[in-house]
Symmetry: C2
Subunit: 395 residues, 2 copies
């Protein structure tokens, strides 16, 4: 049974994602598509608009065969750790291939570039340090350094999907038996396009903007309906939705109550950012306002959002050092009939323990994510269901 | 200028308190009455229904001349530390006398009993340990031990005001020049009486019950108006009111997000209570329900409420050990013209620094209370004003 992995967030799942799943199956010839999906806190440092169980339903309805949770220690991370966690899970599952969306470049480009970068890590770090400029973000500086070092390179190293794709390719090469690489071109919409577009390939960002904070009138609902499969539409219009603003009061409380010293124990609280957090949290009246106040040239919006996830979930430096070595388990969120067959056939070869439901027995493998789930629930107290304990995978 | 101190909470100030202030002046013959008042978190482990500034206004209107804040490290405490902090502040202010309400007994009884207890501390501790019975609360056991040791004693050692009065008397005797003691008998209402009574001496507990959680109809408003001075009535009907339920989501979040190990760093989290907190917090839907679930024979409702204050404010064991040695400063919340004269005359003899308003310069003396004020504000976000920085004393 050939399998191909995809790394996804489905926040929420829309027509572009359906296209990606179809292309994945077509290009790889896989019988089983394995989606490694961020849990409730996502790569851009945001809570998912609907919980991981609703998004698993969307994934299965759109053609995924297995949905596996990417732990929060890897999901709310820049490309490198995000890729490390997800590629590591695909390898643990014995996956044959990986297919990712790309703004430009085909799989060979990624393969070559990844090889070059992995071989020359020390030299690149050195050059990066020489170029260091405190007026720019890490991502921008790194892209500049790489472009300098690879002048003949044709594909952009600064677009989000290419950065992620390259991170998958690099991580993949670090494993003994690397998976095959496939790329699909993204259709219809830039990653950050916030205008819902006529061709029904709206970006997830644009869709979220419509859903959160706005009163949905009939026309807007109709646009949404056209931009995503029926199953997604039903779920986003029936489930409790959250955004960062739902967690703002907890975050504010936590930053107010912790001392500078306590804040410094939190993952990624470095370079004095704790002073800015403390300085602005008292006056800020919303999450958005808070981030605008704290943001400066040296730290990007997304990096700050991730930092806020770490503070909200109280992820400590010393714990995270351990957590990000590799995922502790394969948490199964859902499966199709083919997915079930794959599990039966391959389970014994999995190189990480499989959790089909979180219980008192196996909870020690899932501590951080259980905590993340409990905090996520608090975004709509009483409305969001239990996230881990005794939840059965979606069939 | 003879001065007499009272230790108060005014949550809210009612007719019984006015009587106590009048009696204090009459019995002691003092020209200046100094009220040491709990800040925003009170002895029973609760947030004050209105903030310390509104309660200072009530106090001045009812006849107090100086209002001094009892820091949270002493205010949200059992009788011994509550008395330690407040008596220490009165001494630092050069106060001549102290007058407190009592269910029974006059000042001589307190003086004698306090003397006996202070002289025999080691023996009492020994006897207490021998009697130790895990099925009862600390307070009940201590009262029993003392009654055993003083069989001829006529006044009760288990009523809240007598316990407090005795604690003041004992603490007072530990200072070099003890203050004179006066007692007033409480009128019209038991401490815990929750029925608003016809004779217009309702207890603060009964008044709070009316104010929080219930829709006030005209008849209830009229009853309230009759049970307290006009100034108090105006303030409680115009200011944002809070109860524990306003802080429940923060408390729940904090207990969910902290590990058992982290909870154990909090003051008074001992004897495995952290397991019960973690066990019940997830299912509890309100503060009241939470305490009911956690409560058992060994730990009283009030002790649990205090513990929740320590968790909410993240008061750590190691910090509290320092904090409860003695108050760091005299924080002036308000003064009358006589109070101002007293300050002018006596300021130089004060044995602790006087803070008339909290600024960046003196904030290090007031760190824990500044934090408590910021968290208190979050009970009605945007409605409760700044609690410490640049607030001027009420005149």
């Amino acid at each position: 049974m050939k399998s191909c992995g995809v790394v996804v967030e489905y926040n929420p799942l829309h027509n572009g994602h359906v296209y990606h799943l179809e292309k994945t199956r077509e290009l790889s010839g896989a019988e089983v598509v394995i989606a490694v999906m961020s849990g409730n806190f996502l790569q851009r440092g945001e809570p998912a608009i609907v919980d991981k169980w609703a998004r698993t339903q969307m994934a299965l309805a759109a053609g995924a065969d297995l949905v596996i949770e990417l732990p929060v220690s890897f999901s709310a991370q820049p490309a490198d750790y995000f890729a490390k966690g997800s590629v590591c899970l695909l390898h643990a599952l014995g996956c044959d291939a990986i297919c990712f969306g790309s703004e430009s470049g085909d799989s060979k480009d990624y393969q070559q570039m990844a090889h070059f970068l992995n071989q020359n890590e020390a030299m690149i770090d050195q050059r990066f340090k020489e170029n260091k400029n405190s007026g720019q973000t890490y991502a921008t500086q790194m892209a500049q350094t790489l472009e300098e070092l690879t002048p003949h390179q044709t594909f952009s190293l600064s677009t989000p999907n290419n950065i992620l794709g390259l991170a998958y390719a690099r991580e993949n090469l670090r494993h003994k038996n690397p998976m095959e690489l496939y790329t699909t071109t993204r259709v219809g919409s830039d990653y950050h396009n916030e205008e819902l577009m006529e061709q029904n390939f709206s970006s997830a960002t644009a869709i979220r903007k419509k859903l959160v904070g706005n009163q949905l009138n009939n026309a807007a609902l109709e646009e949404l309906r056209l931009s995503m499969p029926d199953s997604s539409f039903k779920l986003v219009t029936s489930k409790p939705l959250v955004s960062w603003e739902n967690y703002w009061s907890y975050l504010k409380y936590q930053i107010e109550v912790q001392s500078l010293e306590e804040l410094r124990t939190i993952y990624q609280v470095t370079e004095g950012i704790e002073y800015r957090l403390k300085e602005y949290v008292h006056e800020a009246e919303s999450f958005e306002q808070f981030i605008s106040l704290v943001k400066n040239k040296r730290v990007s919006w997304v990096k700050l959002q991730r930092l806020c996830v770490y503070i909200l979930l109280q992820l400590k430096k010393d714990e995270m050092v351990e957590e990000i070595k590799k995922p502790r388990a394969i948490h199964l969120l859902g499966f199709s009939p083919s997915g079930r067959n794959y599990l039966k056939e391959k389970k014994k070869e999995f190189t990480l323990p499989l959790i089909t439901n979180v219980t008192k027995k196996n909870k020690s493998l899932w501590t951080t994510d259980i905590k993340a789930g409990k905090i996520y629930q608090m975004g709509q107290m009483g409305l969001i269901k239990e996230q881990d304990y005794y939840r059965q995978p979606v069939k």
